[in-house]
């Protein structure tokens, strides 16, 4: 219930533990035109700041024409205007030209008029308990009314809204930017089911914010899968409260899960263009490699094949490490095929026959020209395999103590588990492909009801996974996957958190399907304009704040908060990879080594 007010005094107080505590602070008086959306206050100098939450009491007859009802009108200070009508601009220029302090002249400096333009947030009855729910104001507040700053507990009650009675859903995220004593919790249910976007320029605090959210959701045991392109979430494993809950995975690119065309394209994308003739033959090589590898049950015969291949190519490593479902196998097999075809054409088809037995159906029909083509495929595939291996090694290094991604991707979704899929080291297309494979499989399992638990996907650098337009098949696939989750995820218990520092590069439809937003500092005008266009709940005055927000400050808006509010995000307990060391300290440490 809101604290009762008394309009006859400007600073009422109550006795608490023998001390007098102000019930409210007078901040200003309504002046000028007042509407049900906005009003202006003549305010005391420095009594108020932008984004402060204030209140005005009013008394209106109830809509059924009955008794008068006392209500409190809640409002937010959108902007503050300061003007000294007695200080002419030309005098300012003259002072600058002569380097004179205005205090040394006869100019007037004391008659500043400070006006706060306030946006009405809603109303609640003063008597009774609205549980923080705000009603629409349908009649303007009276000019000359006094506005005041309510006490912290009242503000908190209104900011939280009905979340007060649903504490299990509350996610403790931030404090009010102007009132560090007022905690701001958001509705976790809306967050995980109706998608969230965290948008900000580099260094504004996006990853810190998402880590905070993740840590809080983890306390509620919500399954989370994080697609981590830069190692921002490696520190989660070190948080004491999350011990045992965080599992890190490194991503091996599942070459054999793709079709031959895709793999051929990947080789080309990596810089080793396959000619049309090579492309025509590549599918044979690819299928042959798949057959060569066999199934999981063929472990014994695989050993034999590895031995053969090792001898064929004179490569000890094949015998030593065995053969895997990777690009090296395709390259090695292409080379082995080239040699065998050549021998076959020279009258010795033994090796080629072997390969045919192992699944390379057409090999005995190849002539020497094909052998040359196979050589070209082998060389290019070797080079691509090297690059891919480098990516995978980097990925594993960044992922630190990580496991390989499980074959069954639904293993990532477990009660109380945070699965961090490290994508560091891979190029954008690879990241998009890996993500699509995982997300598609999980979504499929959810649709089929084979996976019961809900899950929250966290997409860092989301503009790489769901860009506004697809330039590659990998991007196209990734967009399709994400859009589908954005549209239908709610039905099947899959939520999205899109995190991006380039929102104007995000797919507009997907972004618009997010119902909650955390918007942090943003300087790029294209991004600002884009956000204004897409996010209905972001007002023009709030949008103007974006370039001037501090690191860690954010505007929360959307369904997970009662009304748009400026907050300071609380620090998470974990640290990200890039935060761990000061660069210069690291330099000195490395020098000593």
């Amino acid at each position: 219930m809101p604290t009762e007010l008394n309009n006859t005094t400007t600073t009422d107080s109550q006795q608490v533990n023998g001390k007098s505590t102000p019930i409210r602070d007078y901040v200003g008086t309504l002046v000028g035109e007042s509407t049900s959306q906005e009003f202006r206050l003549a305010v005391n100098h420095e009594s108020i700041r932008e984004q402060d939450i204030i209140a005005v009491d009013a008394e209106f007859r109830s809509t059924d024409g009955g008794q008068k009802e006392k209500i409190r009108v809640w409002a937010k200070v959108k902007r503050i205007e300061r003007i000294n009508p007695l200080f002419p601009t030309e005098a300012g220029h003259e002072l600058a030209a002569t380097q004179t302090s205005p205090f040394d002249t006869v100019l007037s400096l004391s008659r500043e008029m400070v006006t706060a333009v306030c946006q009405v947030l809603g109303t609640e009855p003063i008597e009774g308990d609205s549980k923080g729910k705000l009603n629409q104001l349908r009649y303007p507040a009276q000019p000359a009314s006094s506005a005041y700053r309510p006490i912290d507990s009242d503000i908190k009650r209104v900011v939280l809204g009905d979340l007060q009675t649903k504490q299990n859903r509350a996610v403790d995220l931030a404090t009010l930017a102007n009132r560090p004593n007022v905690d701001v919790a958001v509705d976790g249910h809306k967050l995980v089911t109706r998608h969230l976007a965290i948008l900000a320029m580099t260094g504004a605090g996006k990853s810190v914010t998402s880590r905070r959210i993740i840590e809080e959701l983890a306390k509620k045991n919500y399954p989370i899968v994080i697609f981590d392109p830069h190692g921002d979430y490696t520190g989660l494993v070190d948080v004491a409260e999350l011990r045992g809950k965080v599992k890190r995975y490194y991503a091996q690119f599942p070459v054999f899960d793709e079709d031959s065309d895709t793999v051929a394209r990947i080789i080309s994308t990596l810089g080793y263009e396959l000619s049309p003739t090579m492309l025509g033959l590549f599918s044979d090589v690819f299928e042959a490699a798949k057959s060569f590898y066999g199934t999981d049950a063929d472990a014994e015969s695989r050993k034999e094949k590895a031995e053969w291949l090792s001898q064929r190519l004179g490569n000890e490593n094949i015998r030593k490490y065995g053969i895997k479902q990777d690009m090296w196998l395709i390259a090695n097999l292409a080379m082995a095929g080239k040699l065998s075809v050549k021998e076959a054409n020279d009258g010795n088809p033994t090796k080629a026959q072997k390969l045919q037995d192992w699944g390379w159906g057409q090999i005995l029909n190849y002539d020497k020209t094909v052998a040359r083509t196979l050589c070209g495929i082998a060389k290019r595939t070797f080079s691509a395999a090297k690059v891919l291996q480098r990516m995978q090694e980097t990925n594993r290094k960044v992922a630190k103590q990580a496991e390989p991604l499980p074959q069954d991707r639904t293993e990532l979704v477990k009660y109380g588990q945070i699965s961090v899929v490290s994508l560091a080291g891979y190029s954008g297309d690879f990241q998009a492909t890996i993500y699509s494979l995982i997300a598609d499989e999980i979504f499929e399992k959810k649709v089929q009801n084979d996976l019961k638990l809900p899950v929250l996907f966290v997409l860092e650098e989301a503009h790489n996974f769901v860009p506004s337009s697809a330039n590659t098949p990998a991007e196209s696939r990734s967009i399709t996957t994400t859009k589908q989750i954005a549209q239908e995820g709610r039905k099947f218990g899959i939520g999205l958190v899109l995190i991006s520092q380039r929102p104007s590069r995000l797919d507009e439809t997907t972004l618009a399907m997010c119902n909650s937003y955390i918007i942090m500092r943003m300087m790029n005008p294209a991004d600002q304009n884009f956000i204004r266009k897409v996010i209905e709940s972001l007002g023009a005055d709030d949008a103007k704040l974006l370039p001037d927000l501090d690191v860690g400050e954010a505007i929360l808006s959307g369904q997970f908060i009662n009304f748009p509010v400026l907050v300071k995000i609380k620090q998470p307990q974990s640290k990200g990879e890039r935060e761990e060391k000061d660069a210069f300290e690291a330099l000195e440490a490395a020098r000593k080594e």
Binding site: E90, T98, V106, S108, L109, R111
Partner: protein, 489 residues
């Protein structure tokens, strides 16, 4: 003469100067259209020739025709620690068929230069404030609002002087003394009117009563007997003749200023038709010189006329004013020689005056107010040019406060005006003007209130007199303009 001075005193130099001063060009253009046809032909070039000649005569070492001085030692550093007051009056006139100025307030802005503490630095005040009807004054005259405003501003200035222990400068917006002979014949104010003006005077209000009683005493003993035979009736009615009361307040201001060693300054900007200095000094010297050289027809030859043989005719026929001459003779940061202004006191004469709420009409002789112990004070004037393309402003001081007043005043006026470089006017007066201005919403609100009360009176049948009812209806529903076109009964 050096090269620059040569150019300055040439026709070409004058024309170039004119081009830099569009407001003067416009005035000359206007004049050119309004003067007699015979004068139009070469109006501009003849004016340029004339000014060039004046400039040349100005520069001669022996008997220069016009003296001017440069403002010196006028940096802000010279004026630190001074308490400066600016006074201006504002009137709000409601839109009803009468002409009563029901809203008047005089604003004052007092500032201490160099004071860093804002709370100590500045003070704003309204005094006096009148909301309501006055019994006295001749309401049917268009200058009724003027006498109210002038009286109120003098009271405001006096109040500022008396109620501030330390005051270095008091500046009024407008002349220190208006051409008051135009206000002869106004119905005197009643004591009730003056009470309205004096009610909030001073901290306790007693000083207001003192001023009132002191004036009435002097009026009965010394002033009124010299002005009218009905001085006894005037005394019984305790009425305040407007001009004598103004003169009284001016004398009080001078007395107080002497005590505080304060500069008291009047500032007149855009004095469009004023030509006293030109007539009595500048052109008088010109014609004197012409007569000595036996060249009395110099202007007649120049303009092809026969009547241009004295300053007044020249000024009237050619439309020249002080503003035009000073704009072209003074350079920025210069001020003219100081002269004693006539203020046309010589025009004080006799009038018939009606008394308020009475059928008595008195014959009044205003000439005792020309000078003397209860007459209007002598005023010194000078023109100051603040900037290149701005018309000079006229600075006025009280002769009784000494010659040094003008020199010190001009320095400050110059420096205060530099803060409004486009306008060339002391910024403090601009501040007081904005502060005193009666906002439209207040005027409208009060107008509506009056109409409401009149309407209530009509509807409740309180007014029985048919003629009064007719007047009231017109008052409520007609504007002043409508009133002029009312059907004649």
């Amino acid at each position: 003469m050096n090269m620059t001075q040569e150019k300055f005193a040439s026709e070409e130099g004058v024309k170039q100067d004119l081009q830099r001063q569009p407001s003067i060009m416009l005035k000359l253009a206007e004049n050119a259209l309004q003067v007699a046809e015979s004068l139009r032909g070469n109006y501009f070039s003849n004016t340029a020739k004339f000014i060039a000649a004046l400039r040349g005569a100005m520069a001669r070492e022996e008997n220069p025709i016009f003296k001017k001085r440069k403002v010196e030692n006028a940096d802000w550093s010279f004026f630190q620690g001074e308490t400066v007051a600016f006074v201006d009056g504002g009137i709000g006139q409601i839109e009803i068929s009468s002409q009563v100025p029901v809203l008047l307030r005089v604003g004052s802005y007092i500032v201490k230069t160099g004071e860093r503490n804002l709370a100590e630095r500045e003070k704003f005040g309204y005094y006096p404030v009148i909301i309501g009807d006055l019994e006295g004054g001749s309401k049917e005259r268009p200058d009724f609002t003027d006498i109210i405003r002038i009286t109120a501003e003098l009271l405001g200035g006096l109040s500022v002087l008396e109620n501030n222990e330390r005051l270095n400068v008091l500046m009024f917006h407008g002349p220190l003394v208006y051409t008051v002979h135009f206000y002869m014949g106004h119905t005197p104010f009643t004591e009730g009117d003056i009470d309205k003006l004096l009610s909030q005077y001073g901290a306790k209000g007693t000083r207001g009563r003192e001023i009132k009683e002191a004036f009435l005493k002097q009026a009965f003993e010394e002033i009124y007997p010299k002005m009218t035979r009905n001085y006894v009736e005037w005394n019984e009615k305790r009425i305040f003749e407007p001009l004598s009361f103004m003169a009284y307040l001016l004398r009080l201001i001078i007395t107080e200023a002497k005590k505080k060693n304060a500069l008291v300054i009047g500032i007149v900007e855009r004095a469009t038709k004023y030509s006293e200095f030109s007539k009595n000094y500048l052109l008088e010297r010109v014609f004197q010189g012409l007569r000595k050289k036996n060249n009395i027809d110099f202007f007649n030859n120049m303009f092809g006329r026969k009547d241009l043989r004295d300053p007044e005719t020249l000024l009237n026929k050619l439309g020249y004013t002080d503003s035009i001459f000073m704009s072209l003779l003074l350079e920025p940061e210069e001020y003219s020689e100081v002269w004693t202004m006539t203020k046309q006191y010589e025009f004080f004469s006799k009038r018939s005056v009606s008394l308020p709420n009475s059928s008595l009409v008195s014959e009044v002789d205003y000439s005792p107010l020309q000078s003397g112990p209860f007459g209007f004070p002598k005023i010194l004037g000078s023109y100051l040019k603040v900037g290149d393309n701005i018309e000079p402003i006229r600075v006025e001081t009280f002769a009784e406060l000494g010659d040094k007043q003008m020199e010190e005043s001009v320095k400050r006026v110059y420096r205060y005006s530099k803060l409004l470089p486009q306008y060339g006017f002391p910024v403090g007066l601009d501040i007081a003007d904005k502060f005193a201005h009666v906002p439209d919403w207040l005027t409208r609100a009060y107008s509506n209130l009056i109409k409401h009360h009149l309407g209530v009176s009509l509807q409740s049948g309180e007014i029985n007199d048919a003629e009064m009812r007719r007047v009231l209806i017109q008052t409520i529903y007609m504007t002043h303009r409508d009133w002029l076109f009312r059907p004649k009964s």
